[in-house]
């Protein structure tokens, strides 16, 4: 069984850090679905939200512990099972003629956080911000109109609890003893 994990990490804002993190994921064979990085609440650190796909149950613990071994990574949280909020933004260029434009706008009315932000003679650009599922259902509805270009930011996430994590904090899936050692 494989699963998708959402990991939040605080990293030094220095040249090469993205390379170190990406290199670790690549050489350990983990599959990054999306990686978003930007300024955090502290000036010298950036926060990353990393979505890892197809993580076998056996590698669950590896993802966070290997990431934590990267010296420039200050804090690692696997928040998949936490109470968290997550959003992504997508810019979608859809073919839209005089006949179909109205239909597309009708579809957008069904979604919170979706709007047309640019109109050209034969296409529109739509912006949507929301949870991944919402972005994907909009994409499915737009599919018949022909999506010309798509740019997704990848997920950004924060947990809802009101404590700030400490430097050197690591929280992977709970380190429990296994039932069998055959992994």
């Amino acid at each position: 069984m494989t699963m998708r994990r959402v990991i939040s990490a605080l990293v030094h804002d220095r040249p090469g850090v993205l390379n170190r993190v990406a290199s670790m994921f690549r050489r350990r064979g983990f599959n990054i679905a999306s990686l978003t990085v930007g300024h955090s609440e502290r000036p010298e650190f950036s926060r990353m939200t990393i979505v890892v796909d197809n993580v076998p149950e056996t590698a669950l613990y590896q993802v966070t512990s290997q990431l934590f071994n990267v010296v420039d990574v200050v804090e690692v949280m696997d928040i998949t099972d936490d109470d968290y909020v997550a959003r992504e933004t997508a810019l979608i260029k859809v073919r839209a003629t005089r006949e179909t434009r109205g239909q597309i706008v009708e579809i957008l009315d069904l979604f919170r956080g979706a709007e047309v932000i640019s109109v050209s003679p034969y296409s529109v650009i739509i912006e949507i911000t929301g949870p991944t599922e919402q972005v994907e259902s909009l994409l499915a509805l737009l599919e018949p109109y022909t999506i010309l270009e798509l740019m997704r930011t990848g997920l950004v996430a924060l947990t809802k609890d009101d404590t700030a994590p400490q430097d050197g904090a690591w929280r992977g899936p709970t380190l429990v003893g296994a039932q069998s050692h055959r992994n």
Partner: protein, 573 residues
């Protein structure tokens, strides 16, 4: 201390001096030249000019393993730095603390495909614990302090510091070497274990009937040998060392078993196979030990002590994981362990040991490698420092050079780097000048780094080289014999006349092809007060047994067929 104005190169030397470094290995070149100019003013730092940067990296590694200190190697930009890479990879896999210092092209030239420019921090990410590109001379003291700290702390490993030439020349203010590491929020090793985890381990150990300990290099790195012995004796648990854990438990102890795994002893493999608890202390469950995961120690629960959290659940799931330094963890564990006797289990272990011994073949007057190693063992009283290459001779050395001296068996385990044996022996000997260092070499591995014989001659390092000359890539040939139906491909490594080679490098060379000359050659080498090369002509058809083919289990283990043809009680150790 009032501030002084120093050049970047001097700041590097100041850092080395402050870290107590008195020996470094390296090769100069354009980008690192400012450093080489300044080191002339620091006579307390002895620089060994190896003939190849790979040699510098391996020598630093051998030095570090033999002494427990941080090894230092130095190279110039581009080719010099990349030549270090195999050594860094070797140190990384085997957790050896190394600081590598490399020159880089000047800051304005970076990224311009400048002469001898390589993205060295990029290239070495996967083979270092951490690395730095230093862009200001004033950062050098802090970076060096952090580099040494990271290299030796937690699970040790190599750290590389890349410094552009103009940074080595830049004048910076120096207010003294930092006393502490203040700004490494991302490096917080867990040294002391969680008491609940320790309790979990103790519960399994107290409940076990047929426990066995697998003792790895973590025991040696944390100096936990006394605690390991205490645990083994208190709970009467036999101890299997890993290849890198040799010396962590006295080899002559009644609870000591030989190695397990691919070329481990059959009895140790059978013991692990029958055990109901396997306690791994400070090793990462290498695949050469576990073979097929589904059949590894099939009746055992697993306790896993490791300072590196990412080793836990990596290859084998642990029922009771303990993250922490081996010494601290065992100290926390010991009071929780009930004193026990287990006559039944130990007598079963002894039966297995008797029924499936490690054997030493002979070949009608021709010495076997096993026999030679056994004689070196006996004539050095098991007290020499042993450095090996990679291949058949390495496995035989591990099987037959039984020792009770911590850190005296030095071998490239994780990466299996041929050519390690020559420069690493130099480093070990220079770190332990009063010890007898024997380098057990394959003829092929020896030819990969033999240029360091010149360095050994210059440094008057009295290494005793025992080349096991089978004129082949012996281990490759063994696999082609067993798994490729004897279709031999690219394995003839016939080299030079090693006796003449020794002479060319100004040291005595001795060739042995008769079993009755083995002892005298070994003694002659021991009596000579400089380096010596002894070339032993050995049989090519000698295969390393027992063998569990890669990815298989103890059920597929092949023992030496020769054993069955011998009258019981002969040729057995």
């Amino acid at each position: 201390m009032s501030d002084r104005m120093l050049a970047g190169g001097e700041l590097v030397c100041e850092a080395l001096q402050a870290e107590g470094v008195d020996l470094v290995f390296g090769v100069p070149g354009g980008a690192i030249l400012p450093f080489y100019d300044h080191i002339l003013k620091y006579p307390s730092i002895h620089h060994v000019l190896t003939r190849h940067e790979q040699g510098a990296a391996h020598a630093a590694d051998g030095y570090a393993r033999a002494t427990g200190r941080v090894g230092v190697c130095i190279a110039t930009s581009g080719p010099g730095a990349i030549n270090l890479a195999v050594g860094l990879g070797t140190s990384f896999m085997d957790s050896t603390p190394i600081v590598a210092i490399t020159g880089q092209v000047t800051r304005p030239a970076i990224g311009k495909d400048a002469f001898q420019e390589t993205d060295v921090t990029g290239v070495t990410i996967p083979v270092t614990k951490h690395n730095y590109l230093v862009m200001n001379a004033s950062d050098i003291p802090r970076v060096m302090k952090e580099a040494f700290h990271i290299a030796r702390s937690a699970r040790p490993g190599p750290v590389l510091v890349d410094i552009p030439r103009d940074v080595l020349q830049e004048i910076g203010e120096y207010s003294g070497y930092p006393q502490s590491v203040d700004d490494l929020p991302g490096f917080r090793p867990i040294t002391h274990p969680d008491p609940d985890q320790v309790q979990g381990a103790a519960d399994l150990i107290n409940a076990a009937e047929r426990p066995v300990i697998l003792a790895g290099r973590g025991v040696l790195l944390s100096g936990a040998e006394p605690e390991l012995k205490d645990l083994a004796e208190r709970a009467q648990i036999p101890v299997i060392p890993t290849l890198l854990g040799i010396g962590s438990f006295p080899g002559n102890h009644y609870l000591h078993l030989s190695l397990m795994g691919m070329h481990g002893s059959a009895f140790a493999n059978f013991v692990a196979n029958e055990a109901d608890l396997l306690i791994n202390i400070g090793s990462r469950f290498d695949d050469r030990i576990i073979g097929r995961v589904a059949d590894f120690a099939p009746h055992a629960k697993i306790v896993h002590f490791n300072i590196d959290r990412s080793s836990i659940h990596q290859n084998i799931f642990a029922h009771a994981p303990v993250v922490g330094d081996a010494k601290n963890s065992l100290q926390a564990l010991l009071p929780l362990i009930r004193q026990t006797t287990r006559p039944q289990w130990l007598s079963r272990v002894d039966d297995l040991r008797r029924e499936h011994p490690l054997i030493v073949r002979d070949f009608d007057g021709k010495p076997s490698t096993q026999y030679i190693i056994k004689r070196i063992h006996e004539l050095t009283d098991g007290k020499a420092f042993i450095v090996t290459g990679v291949g058949q001779h390495q496995m035989w050395a591990a099987q037959h050079y039984v020792t009770d001296r911590p850190n005296s068996f030095i071998t490239s385990g994780g990466l299996g780097t041929m050519g390690y044996e020559v420069p690493a022996a130099l480093g070990a000997q220079m770190g332990r000048p009063t010890e007898q260092v024997w380098s057990i070499c394959g003829d092929a591995g020896f030819q990969m780094t033999l240029q360091e014989l010149a360095t050994i001659r210059d440094e008057k390092a009295p290494v005793k080289f025992a080349i096991m000359n089978n004129r082949h890539h012996g281990m490759v040939r063994q696999w082609q014999t067993l798994f490729y139906n004897k279709r031999y491909s690219q394995i003839d490594t016939t080299g030079p006349d090693f006796v003449k080679l020794a002479e060319a490098y100004g040291m005595p060379g001795i060739r042995v092809d008769d079993i009755k000359d083995v002892d005298s050659a070994i003694k002659q080498a021991q009596d000579h007060d400089g380096p010596v090369i002894v070339e032993f002509m050995v049989e090519i058809d000698e295969l390393v047994y027992p063998m569990i083919p890669a990815g298989q289990s103890v059920n597929e283990m092949v023992e030496d067929p020769w054993m069955d043809q011998q009258p019981t009680g002969t040729a057995r150790r």
